[in-house]
Symmetry: none
Subunit: 407 residues, 2 copies
């Protein structure tokens, strides 16, 4: 049985949604779930000194969640969709969309977005560097502006810089499809691939993409090492009902990294820009307090440390969040969820499918025996193992935002 599923009955939580002034705070430590460094040892979270998280856990319902499904390591976007109460398998999100939303570029239904990487090609057309020597963002910005002017029949082209050699291209027009193959060959010494239609309805888009690449090469001819473009992750906006439509929430995202702002916008969250660290996030949380009832605070560096294979650095990032916790809770949210969007054990150096520890705190919870916020204690918590998207439902229930079902 899939750990979660789509009901014939549709969306019961949406049908039962009940607005009130209760506030829900979701605190995400990216890639929180971990593994012991040595057999029998503690995980990163278990090793961390977390007096504030432990105190919260002592009055909370704890458990482990599976973001996507058993055995599946989540990407960051689907992992967060689950935490926001959606079934990630129902709403696949393409890389191009995440990139465009991440930089705040407005995407309309039907638009096709793709990641654009500046690269280097030699005189014979072979790729010699897929990252154009990692050109600086300033140069990326100038070159993106150059390509932004490209005119193609019946299609508006927008090219925007992201960071370093990475940009995004967005096509706007009628009859577009995202069923187009990547042009990035994923290795050097070969030519870029032609964009191919992966479905009949994508022939037009594939031709548009091919014409764009030809024109881009002309404009970049004298810009070596950035004289080539590689396109990947063609994607269109998935139709996702917003958190307001589904749950009646007024949500706001307090994230530092573009991708998490992107997935937040995807579900209709207001996004606060220009946040550099937990202090700024904490201040922005206080400022957003009056006008919202759902607050998403995201901390990236637990995941970064895990990806780097740095056990101690991940421990330090967890402790940093623990020290920031009192400030984040200063407004006294009615329901608090603390968890991760997936596991990134430092011994694995990557996202894994391991269940992710969580706690749900609030006046209406039924506290369990968990006294320390960690993987093994949470496994013995009140909830056991639940689907990631159950956390939103549980929080909404505790916040009184779900009407009774039936007489």
């Amino acid at each position: 049985m899939a750990i979660h599923d789509d009901r014939p009955a549709g969306d019961p939580l949406a049908e039962l949604k009940t607005a009130n002034d209760q506030r829900i705070l979701l605190l995400v430590m990216d890639g929180l779930g971990g593994l012991p460094r040595e057999p029998g040892g503690p995980t990163e979270l278990e090793a961390a000194r977390t007096p504030n998280l432990d105190a919260l856990a002592a009055g909370a319902e704890c458990g482990l969640h599976v973001p996507i499904d058993y055995g599946i390591a989540p990407g960051s976007a689907p992992g967060h969709l689950a935490l926001f109460g959606y079934d990630p398998l129902q709403y696949p999100i393409g890389r191009g969309i995440v990139a465009a939303l991440g930089i705040g570029h407005p995407i309309r239904g039907g638009d096709v977005a793709a990641r654009l990487n500046f690269a280097t090609r030699d005189d014979t057309g072979l790729i010699t560097d897929r990252r154009a020597g990692r050109i600086p963002t300033e140069l990326c910005t100038r070159l993106a502006a150059l390509l932004d002017g490209i005119e193609l029949p019946g299609v508006e082209v927008a090219v925007r810089p992201v960071r370093d050699y990475r940009a995004v291209v967005v096509l706007h027009g009628a009859g577009l499809s995202d069923r187009v193959s990547d042009t990035d060959p994923a290795r050097t010494g070969v030519a870029a691939l032609p964009p191919r239609a992966l479905a009949p309805e994508a022939e037009h888009t594939a031709q548009v993409a091919a014409a764009f690449v030809v024109r881009a090469r002309e404009l970049l001819a004298d810009e070596a090492p950035a004289n080539e473009v590689l396109l990947r992750g063609f994607a269109q906006l998935p139709r996702i009902p917003s958190l307001t439509d589904r749950f009646g929430l007024s949500p706001v995202a307090l994230a530092v990294y573009p991708d998490y702002k992107g997935v937040s916008r995807l579900v209709g969250m207001e996004v606060v820009e220009g946040l550099a660290d937990l202090d700024a996030q904490s201040r922005a949380l206080a400022a957003a307090w009056p006008g919202h009832d759902y607050f998403f605070v995201h901390h990236k560096y637990t995941d970064s440390a895990g990806e780097d294979g740095d056990f101690d650095a991940k421990v330090a990032e967890v402790e940093k969040v623990d020290r920031a916790l009192p400030g984040l809770l200063a407004g006294e949210p009615d329901v608090v969820i603390v968890t991760g969007d997936h596991s990134t054990p430092s011994v694995a150096r990557s996202h894994t499918a391991h269940p992710v520890p969580f706690l749900v705190h609030g006046a209406a919870v039924r506290p369990d025996a968990v006294r320390q916020f960690g993987e093994r204690e949470c496994a013995a918590g009140a909830w056991g193992v639940v689907p990631g998207r159950a956390l939103m439902a549980i929080a909404l229930g505790h916040a009184g935002k779900v009407a009774r079902f039936g007489a």
Copy 2:
């Protein structure tokens, strides 16, 4: 999102049903799940002295169940549907149907039932009391008989008293639909609403309802304070396969309150009438023993005490059931389930979404470490958190009423 899912495979338990003489007893303490009165304290069930339930739990498999879905507080009818092995989201039950079945009024497929509340209107037609001064049941009975005679073209009208100012109207005829809006404005100082069709196929029914209201006002003209009727919860019988069809059971319900008899009839249970208390239920259980293999015993007052916010009264009701347990088990049922249909913590004074403790006892169970029947011990029980409807499946399995699936 669902804690349980509906399989494309259909209804495996029905396909595998195997009749035998093993008996299953389901003992429901309504609204059993609770919360501590003060932080760190016991719940009502944990505070109750329950030597008999604890002894049963010591040899049982325990856990918590979610009747409807994460975060959703169950109504009594859907809560019981789950305990009977059905997905409540798949079989929504309208208020009118629950009321009609509750008083034992025969409902045929296609009939439309609605709650009818006697109310008071002033000379200008505005509602001044939505409950007609809570007229006594005797008066309600006389007035219902008055309206019961209403004749409308092509439709049989039945009006039956329920209790106090509450009655039920049942329409029988061709081409009826329950997609009709309530006439109860839900507040005073305004006129009753006209019944509106919520779907094209309901136009006829809306007209019938409107004609009924006009005629009812004429008949009640001199009956102030009960000179108005308010209709709500138009509903038709959901097509629910019976416990006999699905599981091959010969079920009997031993309940005191009308609503629980109603939902029992909905799944094809035989219903014993005229039961006043646990003693009578215990005697009726013994009398029904020879002819049945599934016994549903319902105790209402745990929920009532929770709704009243009376922690001690709920504790006392649990202890009352504990004292009655030996008598209820005198026939030595092969499988016993003890649980609730939802949580009604006295601190909440209402149904909540909190998981509900359960135990499953029988010769074939694999006992866990639970020694005291309570929320937190059950959270650490053999089953963890399961969908409500899993309890029936687990009981059928232990009773040997499910054939092996596959070679």
